[in-house]
């Protein structure tokens, strides 16, 4: 295997002319168990650099830090949402006030109108009969006709139900 490229890469590494990708390549090169003697001595450097990347905090760190800032996060979210919707709240409040005032005004006008329409003015009524006795007999006769009509209708309905049964 030709290690010329690795040697050149190493030289460029010391001169700070390598890219992060080339430096990663050097670290990966030292993953193989056997390399020539002249390159072997640098193994510890690249192994060290590669392994140092894996140093991490304990798994319970997240829990602790979230507990520390947890209240702030919730509070911040509430504040942000409230302030973001603030213009909408104002618009809704204005519409509600205008609507309520409009309804109140409309109700008050219609009440006045209704009261003027529904008041019975007995003085404006005029009798259609001059003799009260004739009027009484006419009304009694009309009610009798209505009563008979209703009774006939009831009997017919009963007959229909009995036939269906």
């Amino acid at each position: 295997m030709d290690y010329k490229y690795i040697e050149q890469l190493l030289e460029r590494y010391w001169e700070c002319k390598t890219t992060p990708e080339e430096e990663k390549l050097l670290q990966d090169f030292y993953l193989q168990p056997h390399v020539p003697n002249n390159l072997e001595k640098y193994r510890c450097l690249f192994d060290y650099e590669r392994e140092e990347k894996d140093i991490c905090l304990d798994s319970d760190f997240d829990e602790r830090i979230l507990h520390e800032v947890g209240e702030t996060i919730v509070e911040a979210k509430h504040n942000n949402l409230f302030f973001r919707l603030y213009p909408i709240y104002r618009a809704v409040a204005i519409v509600a006030i205008v609507f309520t005032l409009g309804m109140a005004a409309q109700h008050s006008f219609s009440t006045e109108k209704d009261s003027s329409e529904t008041t019975i003015n007995y003085a404006s009524y005029k009798d259609t009969y001059t003799d009260p006795q004739v009027a009484y007999e006419q009304v009694a006769s009309a009610l009798k006709e209505v009563s008979e009509g209703l009774r006939d209708a009831g009997l017919q309905t009963e007959d229909t139900i009995n036939i269906k049964k």
């Binding site: 992060p20 430096e23 193994r43 510890c44 192994d47 140093i55 997240d62 830090i65 520390e68």
Partner: protein, 168 residues
């Protein structure tokens, strides 16, 4: 808008490794990361991009870690000497050292670099960041990043050269 879980929390391990690089103490590094994250979250309204959050966190973490070691120096509490003494006392040739001991030796080389070189080595060689991003994160020029990294790598290279000349 900055989100805690997406923009701040994922920085935790990178910040931890940076703090550890400066303080060489796991417990203190963890406290520094926690404090940095809370501080960044409290300033969340000032950030427009996630890179701005990272730059803030790296600066805060670095300053807190440096304060931590300065405080220790004032109190005359030595850093974790066991890491450094272990390899210094080894009188055996480099070739006979175990792989773990060699990595410990490299660790010592890293830790003995000047602070600025150490941080740039950390961001480039461990975190794999491009020069441009390192410059933005540390608020220095790209040229300064390259020069500092060059000095750091040359220092490490010289230590490896000594192996060839003196065995260790």
């Amino acid at each position: 808008m900055i989100n805690f879980r997406d923009d701040v929390l994922p920085l935790k391990n990178r910040l931890y490794r940076l703090a550890l690089r400066i303080t060489a103490h796991t417990g203190e590094s963890e406290d520094i990361v926690q404090e940095t994250i809370i501080k960044a979250w409290n300033h969340r309204n000032e950030f427009e991009t996630s890179l701005a959050v990272e730059a803030f966190c790296i600066t805060a973490c670095r300053n807190m870690a440096l304060d931590c070691i300065a405080k220790k120096e004032r109190q005359n509490i030595p850093l974790d000497n066991s890491i450094y003494d272990q390899v210094d006392n080894a009188a055996t040739p480099f070739q006979t050292l175990s792989h773990e001991d060699r990595k410990e030796w490299v660790h010592k080389l890293f830790q003995h670099l000047p602070e600025k070189q150490r941080i740039i080595m950390q961001l480039r060689d461990i975190e794999g960041k491009p020069y441009k991003e390192i410059a933005k994160l540390l608020q220095i020029s790209e040229e300064q990043v390259k020069v500092t990294l060059f000095r750091a790598r040359q220092r490490i290279r010289n230590e490896f050269e000594k192996i060839d000349h003196y065995g260790l």
